[in-house]
Point group: C2
Chain length 254, copies 2
């Protein structure tokens, strides 16, 4: 397959990809809390919608709760705490009514908690930390793909049949090195190394977890919002665990 045919066969995928990169780059350059909040909020609402479908939940009230939570995150100083507000309200309703569907809590565990952490990451550590995150997650994904194509032999795990141990290891090594150089501009090198490694590994498992949910739901893509890329969750899955891990490591190691 020539380079040209890779492009023509995946034209839609490439075009969508270029638009996504342009949008993310523009938002990074604007570097404003409200814009970041709005952007993450839009991505969050689509992801929440897809997660509701993966969990086979039909309850339109949940969207109002999700939107309300995100509005609160605009003014609350520590957005990641708001997950526990939902948890307490949910458990209280459950205890009071005794007939609340427990499954309704799932979309607040995933992907809600992750988006609250992504906002917290920007809030507490600035745009540089988000760029560092994007570098590590993107290179883990790209590295795993190419190393897997070239040297992949043994399957990594049944949940994601296309992933190989060699690919995953290659992706983590490449992303850790690239992340190390990016992170060294912001923090001391031992932290830069450790955080890049942790974030890269978390991104592999974030990806795997979304595959697991799709497999449980018996679907191929989480949705079809992004032409050629499937759903929103398919695109952001790598960030959903790694954003949490990055905040945890930055707080613990700095």
């Amino acid at each position: 397959m020539s380079l040209f045919s890779i492009f023509t066969d995946n034209k839609q995928r490439f075009l969508t990809g270029i638009i996504l990169i342009a949008v993310v780059a523009a938002i990074g350059l604007i570097n404003n809390f409200f814009v970041i909040w709005l952007f993450f909020g839009i991505v969050y609402m689509f992801s929440f919608y897809e997660a509701m479908r993966l969990f086979k939940i039909e309850n339109n009230q949940m969207y109002a709760y999700a939107a309300g939570l995100w509005l609160l995150a605009l003014i609350y100083p520590n957005p990641d705490d708001l997950f526990f507000l939902i948890a307490v309200v949910f458990a209280s309703l459950l205890a009071y009514t005794r007939e609340f569907d427990k499954k309704l809590f799932l979309p607040f565990l995933y992907p809600t908690a992750s988006f609250l952490f992504l906002l917290t990451l920007y809030n507490d550590f600035g745009i540089d930390s988000l760029i560092w995150l994007v570098v590590v997650v993107a290179l883990t994904d790209i590295g795993a793909f190419f190393v897997g194509k070239m040297a992949g032999k043994r399957q990594f795990c049944v949940t994601s049949p296309n992933k190989t141990i060699e690919g995953v290891a290659g992706g983590v090594v490449i992303a850790t090195f690239a992340g190390f150089f990016t992170g060294s501009m912001l923090v001391d090198w031992p932290q830069a190394l450790l955080i890049s490694f942790g974030v890269s590994v978390a991104s592999i498992f974030g990806d795997l977890f979304e595959s697991y949910l799709k497999r449980e739901a018996g679907v191929k893509d989480s949705g079809n919002i992004l032409p050629g890329h499937g759903g929103m969750l398919d695109r952001v899955d790598g960030y959903l665990f790694s954003g949490i891990v990055m905040v945890l490591l930055l707080r613990g190691l700095l």
Copy 2:
């Protein structure tokens, strides 16, 4: 029933209560992070054990995870974040093995997250905030009992048949006033009022949630560790939601 017979009939309950008050008072006077961590850790492990039984989970590995998490909370600057560490590791194992029992996550939602918040409360806001919490939760409980005995007519909720709307309202009013005076020594009065009210309401629902769990499990007491008081969870249930709410309100309003 004379006052004397109330005492003799509940002798064991009174004696245990006095010992508990003495232990809590001594720990408050010592006011040392390690001692608080150790005390909460012991209460946590018993509560975790009882929660495992309420959820009908038999897996001894979970105790090692709980203890490891608590050890990490000794050195991690923001203990409440550690809940998400467990969540990410759990979801990763679930995706990788595909045969992990999802129920095993429940004791990390309850009561683990709450104990991490109680430690965070001491960590970030000091012993005064814990004393304020104890005043509000204890008076909500005592107030609801006496007002309920005197003026209780309508049932509050089927989950806790002994609670009345009048008792609950009375308890919240009494605790909010007492908490207002305690809190005013630490923060401005509008915050003291709002936080005391929120914490008192949360304590009612924390209590209710534990009743719900026991009802679901079909047991009367969560355990029998405290003679005359039932289990550890029966004693601390009021603190499990209110500790979270107190941290959230202090962070949001100060």
